[in-house]
Symmetry: C2
Subunit: 259 residues, 2 copies
DNA sequence: CGGGTGATTGATACCCATCAATAGTGGTGG
DNA sequence: CCACCACTATTGATGGGTATCAATCACCCG
């Protein structure tokens, strides 16, 4: 049963890779043969404590994970959200010990994939290293966007941007629509994403709701007016759109992640 | 003469790679055989306009470059600083068209390395792909740190953190000491790094100066009291320390980037 | 010398943080 | 089954950190 979960998650990740990388049959088989350990974690559990050294990457099968940075005074800043199908902490493969932590924002099921497994995979199939790298690059692209979001936007725009990004990413999984998706985050967790206090997040959400743009309630985001939300956010999905590249990346052919 | 600059820059980059990756003689030769185009750019010139598609990575030979995000209202957020020896926009290799731009903060000399050159390099030498990936990972690690820096720190701490980071990175090049280094940035550019206004950067810098911690004047940073600066910044260099890994990354052996 | 850029300082406004209180919700144990 | 507790959402009052507007000064350069 645990094995089923692992298999399903790895299949989902293979699909994800194929959204931006062209893989041979042999490479696909290699991915599917990956062995991982299934682990269920309750909400709020740290999967990786800040500064801890880890020996595996984490594939999110169910739930929502985050990467976070902890300040000396206890303040927390979430630096990345990892949805179902994301391979998070892939960076740990090349930098096993960094300053961040990984936390389960909701009850989650993850598959732990040992670094050595991945390294052997990359030795045998160099093209797969490029595919995984592409994945990590999308992550970095989101990181850079968040810097601008936090550094140069008002609270309203920052929150709107987060909701736009998550709508786009959720819809890319095929399991949600961008107009309405489940977001089981507390206002405090949202605040930790965009560098605000929970109180202010509450107020800004009320404003967006009263303007008829978006409603966030009971862990569900309902976007009534995508155009307005995008305008309020100064959002453009470009940074979320990896290019589909042919084998070994020697030619490129543009293809959007979402329709 | 231009070729000399290119060769020197590529040699410097090879050294940089070897700080975190073990390379064979053949791999070293392959790196040194890279052909690039030298380009001199005046200060404030965009090397890459936001949204532009590029076909090459940019190796910084001299000067200071930045990656930035531009808001609709014209506000700018710098998301990364690229010092001499950095291979910036490596991300463009796997995501040739993203939303950001690259700007020369100072007069600069860069070497443009075509994507195809790098792709061929990685096909012939898969271990080099891992080495470059490691480099990109350090970049991403810095991005994540900046999110925390901007989102959850006061202006004083944020500025102090930037100065600590740059001191550490500068000293890693071997050409500067972390206690005193050249930083040819205007206060406006510094403000764009940490999400503040230039006026407030000025005030916070005065406070740090009057506390006898650090002086920034005439493009020169002089840190009088590193301990205090680190404390004010809540700085720990861990996130800048890539691990030295053996060939193909199959074993790891810890080694700091700086002394 | 004039003009432009950057640094510096003052006055004021405002966005968001902080402190505080209430209400709703779900879980838990007696 | 209900009292109790912890957590979250919500709202109000107030304060503070930073933005904004504005003026002066210093400096470099043509």
């Amino acid at each position: 049963m645990g094995a089923d979960v692992a298999e399903a998650a790895i299949e989902a990740y293979l699909e994800r890779l194929q959204r931006h990388s062209v893989l041979t049959a042999e490479e696909r088989r290699a991915i599917l043969s990956i062995q991982g350990t299934v682990r269920r974690v309750p909400a709020r559990r740290d999967l990786v404590a800040p500064g801890q050294q880890v020996g595996h990457a984490i594939l999110v099968a169910e739930g929502l994970l985050c990467r976070f940075d902890l300040m000396r005074d206890g303040a927390r800043q979430i630096t990345a959200l990892h949805l179902e199908g994301d391979l998070c902490d892939l960076h740990s493969l090349v930098a096993p010990k960094t300053g961040w932590g990984i936390n389960a924002l909701t009850p989650a099921v993850v598959v732990e994939v040992p670094h050595d497994t991945l390294r052997r995979l990359f030795v045998d199939h160099p093209n797969l290293a490029m595919a995984f790298w592409r994945d990590a690059t999308l992550d970095a692209s989101i990181l850079a966007k968040w810097i601008g979001n936090i550094g140069r936007k008002r609270a309203r725009a920052g929150l709107a941007h987060l909701l736009c990004e998550l709508g786009t990413r959720m819809s890319a999984t095929g399991r949600s629509s961008r107009a309405s998706y489940a977001l089981p985050l507390t206002q405090e967790q949202i605040a930790d994403c965009i560098g605000l206090t929970p109180v202010h997040v509450n107020r800004v959400m009320r404003a967006l709701r009263e303007d008829g743009i978006v409603t966030v309630a009971d862990g569900q985001v309902t976007i009534h007016d995508w155009e307005s939300l995008e305008a309020a956010a100064d959002f453009s999905a470009t940074y979320l759109l990896p290019y589909r590249t042919s084998h070994l990346g020697l030619a490129a052919d543009a293809s959007a992640m979402v329709e």
